[in-house]
């Protein structure tokens, strides 16, 4: 990575604006991610899947809209998660391997600024990706239904929840990559994604478990990310409304959980011996 060089105010580590430095790191992270060919491939795959949904929609009489929304949003979610994990886990290790991290940190860039900047860069990348994929889904929806209906507004809410999901996945990938190898970070993040997708069932299991096991299960159930509340794909595919309160709580939850993971990543990265 080449970030920070042009922005650096050599000599005084407190010089310059932290926000500007974070912004610069975020922008460079975004630029590098967009240059990545794998990223383009994944977008192409997502668009392809949305296209496939049109074909499936045509052979699924009377449920075209349902199939397109289900397939399209699921593709957006899964491809986004894959992108988040595979870019997120390499954000720190790649910088160490290329030795560009030392250059960045020798400039007046603090470690926490580096971590936060990376997070915003990756999140920005995913937001752009999601917008592109969402356009594909909406076009597919328009193709099969010929017009948008009022209930299609809930599809936008589902897409917003998917972005919130990415926020948490990015933060987790960055958290694990702050102390682990890329492979292990990918495994940990993906495992948490799967467990988190069943979070409500996990809390159900915890509720019916008694004794010490119950306490441990409850603690685990509340610590793993709750991706199930962020998944309203089936609900909006059936045209069901999403309560406004849920939108508010999910937003708060995603921000707080991401802040928690990023804070953890900062604490670990601050202490990490990079020599």
């Amino acid at each position: 990575m080449n970030s920070g060089r042009r922005n650096a105010n050599a000599g005084n580590p407190n010089a310059g604006n932290a926000n500007a430095r974070i912004g610069y790191i975020a922008f460079n992270t975004f630029r590098e991610a967009v240059r990545d060919r794998v990223l383009y491939n994944l977008i192409a795959f997502a668009l392809l899947l949305s296209g496939a949904s049109i074909l499936v929609g045509e052979i699924s009489i009377d449920v075209e809209r349902l199939v397109v929304v289900n397939l399209g949003l699921t593709a957006v979610s899964l491809f986004g998660v894959v992108i988040a994990i595979f870019i997120g886990i390499g954000l720190v290790s790649k910088e160490i391997d290329k030795r560009t991290l030392y250059t960045v940190l020798s400039r007046p860039v603090r470690r926490w600024e580096f971590v936060v900047g990376k997070f915003f860069g990756l999140t920005g990348t995913l937001v752009v990706n999601t917008v592109l994929m969402a356009i594909g889904v909406l076009l597919a929806l328009l193709y099969v239904a010929h017009r948008f209906e009022k209930m299609d507004a809930w599809v936008l809410v589902a897409l917003y929840f998917i972005v919130l999901q990415f926020l948490i996945v990015c933060a987790l990938a960055l958290f694990f990559s702050s102390f682990s190898t890329p492979l292990m970070s990918a495994v940990f993040t993906f495992a948490l994604f799967v467990i988190g997708s069943l979070a409500e069932d996990l809390r159900g299991f915890a509720r019916i478990t008694q004794g010490v096991g119950g306490w441990i299960a409850t603690a685990v159930a509340y610590l793993v990310p709750n991706f199930s509340a962020l998944n309203v794909i089936s609900q909006v595919a059936h045209g069901d409304a999403v309560p406004g309160r849920l939108i508010l709580y999910n937003t708060l939850y995603a921000l707080l959980y991401s802040a928690m993971a990023i804070s953890g990543a900062v604490l670990i990265f601050q202490r990490r011996d990079l020599k």
Partner: protein, 311 residues
């Protein structure tokens, strides 16, 4: 304080604050999405589709659906709901994903058939579930027991109940009471004893606290029904002998018909009414009773007997 130390402190504080905030928000989300897991689960009702989606992990998926079924019923029952429309499809999906998940059949036999608020009021669905269970688990006597139980309690079909118990009694691994139940069904004999035996077997053959609690409530109600029937017979005998109704339980005791003051299973003495009927002191304290109630009163139902949070 150095910049690094300050950054560490801020990060640690942010970690604690955001963790507490996330957990609190999760509580609020759970409250907003009460029972939504079950509802969402049933956007996909086809077990064939679910089998494909599970990538072969059907056992795990069945366990998840089973947990959802228990929570769905428990939470709705706890809140006094009379609408359990998702219970049948949840149990059907569960057992289609794992036809050998025996507790699901037992749960279905106990809570699908009874009328709301004690069940979904779908005896037909319960019967279908039991037959499906027997088809896939022909060696399990409990399923024949559940089938006979259903025929007896919900359909009052003694012949079919006797047949189900008899079939279960023939299995290599069975329960000693199965042939007795089959015989009793065939004779229609001893209603109270038969019902008591059924509920006792239900209690003993499961570890599910909801089913056990339900069985205990029915056993207590049976005790009251039997006591009231017996006491009213005694009152009638007294009237035949003396030409008048007893004024109190003491009259019956002095005449040698009873010993001591008869009391319900909760220890409250039964009341002798001026018209010779017997009533319980607190009709709301014993659920499912059909006798000993004030005229026109409906049998009390246990709206809040299940506490899923404490299980």
């Amino acid at each position: 304080m150095t910049a690094t130390r300050r950054a560490n402190l801020v990060a640690a504080a942010a970690l604690v604050f955001s963790m507490a905030g996330a957990i609190a928000t999760l509580h609020a989300i759970d409250h907003t999405r009460r029972a939504s897991a079950a509802q969402e689960a049933l956007y996909v009702r086809s077990s064939k589709v679910l089998r494909r989606m599970s990538l072969g992990y059907t056992g795990l998926l069945a366990d998840i659906y089973w947990t959802r079924a228990v929570q769905y019923f428990g939470e709705r029952h706890h809140h006094g709901s009379r609408d359990f429309r998702l219970l049948a499809p949840l149990l059907e999906v569960t057992t289609e994903l794992d036809p050998r998940l025996l507790p699901a059949y037992q749960f279905g036999a106990n809570f699908l058939a009874p009328k709301p608020p004690n069940g979904a009021g779908l005896p037909g669905s319960a019967l279908f579930l039991m037959k499906y269970g027997i088809e896939h688990n022909p060696g399990q006597w409990r399923l024949y027991y559940n089938l006979g139980f259903l025929y007896y309690t919900e359909f009052k079909d003694y012949a079919k109940a006797a047949d189900a118990f008899a079939q279960g009694a023939k299995l290599p691994v069975t329960n000693e009471y199965m042939p007795i139940l089959a015989a009793r069904m065939a004779q229609h004999a001893g209603e109270f004893d038969t019902a008591r035996m059924l509920w006792r077997m239900t209690y003993e053959s499961t570890k599910d606290p909801q089913i056990r609690d339900n069985a205990v409530q029915h056993l207590l109600a049976l005790q009251v029904d039997e006591d009231v029937t017996r006491l009213e017979q005694v009152v009638e005998k007294y009237r035949e002998q003396t030409g008048r109704l007893p004024a109190s339980m003491g009259d019956l005791e002095r005449a040698g018909f009873i010993h001591g003051t008869p009391a319900d299973p909760k220890g409250r003495p039964y009341k002798l009414m001026p018209d010779g009927r017997i009533e319980v002191q607190d009709p709301e304290s014993i659920f499912f009773i059909t006798k000993g109630l004030p005229p026109g009163a409906a049998p009390p139902q246990p709206l809040h007997q299940i506490e899923p949070e404490s299980r």
